[in-house]
């Protein structure tokens, strides 16, 4: 069966520090991969998605970047965190064909001090 792992579960970082969040998927090949951010009491905002290794599409201009160095690995990064980067970050995967469900990890709660 397929599983998705996200870590760390919580993270507290000072303003201006770098960020690296990692997401890995097991049990499937060539998945579509997604990074979302969710503000408290709000819906999910799509940040990045990827349909293959090295293929990254950015949905909103921001202080973050994403990379996909391997088929089932998706990394969210920042060189210098801002206070506004605080939030709940979720990684998800879906089968390559459009229209199928997305499967989410348990998220990273990021607090910027």
């Amino acid at each position: 069966s397929q599983t998705i792992h996200q870590w760390p579960a919580t993270l507290v970082q000072p303003v201006g520090s770098p960020l690296s969040l990692e997401c890995t998927v097991e049990g499937t090949s060539n998945p579509n991969l997604y990074w979302y951010r969710q503000a408290a009491g709000r819906g999910l905002q799509l940040l990045f998605y990827s349909v293959g290794i090295g293929q990254i599409s950015s949905e909103v201009p921001q202080n973050l970047s994403a990379s996909r160095p391997q088929d089932r690995q998706f990394i969210l990064s920042s060189k210098k965190l801002l206070l506004s980067d605080s939030g709940f970050y979720l990684c998800a995967w879906s089968a390559p064909a459009a229209g199928g469900p997305q499967h989410f990890g348990d998220g990273t709660r990021l607090s910027i001090l």
Partner: protein, 112 residues
């Protein structure tokens, strides 16, 4: 641009009653709508998908309808239980990439 809207007010119902949650979209009819459940501090979990040519979809105590005339999807939980308490998210597909646009979610509270 396409928007998807859910009632931001929490829905409080008594155990055993049917919960009905609403999802409205603007502009064009999406090819499909998906419903997810999200518990506090967890990622969303997929529940049901309904396509635009389907009027209704069922899974155990869950039922979803899709009305392209009203531009609306309704999500029903029959015989609700306190364990059904969660936030429910509606989403629709965007293009051929598998991307989803999510509503802000509606929180359901089922009281014993």
């Amino acid at each position: 641009s396409q928007k998807i809207e859910q009632n931001s007010e929490a829905l409080n119902i008594q155990e055993g009653k049917t919960a009905t949650l609403t999802c409205n979209y603007t502009n064009y009819s999406p090819a499909y709508l998906q419903w997810y459940r999200q518990d506090p501090g967890r990622g969303p979990v997929f529940l049901l998908l309904i396509r635009e040519n389907e009027k209704e979809k069922r899974k155990e105590r869950l039922k979803v309808t899709f009305d392209t005339t009203l531009k609306q999807s309704l999500f029903h939980i029959t015989a609700s239980q306190p364990a059904d308490s969660a936030t429910y998210l509606c989403a629709h597909g965007s293009g051929n990439t598998g991307k989803l646009i999510f509503g802000q979610g509606t929180t359901l509270q089922v009281k014993p």
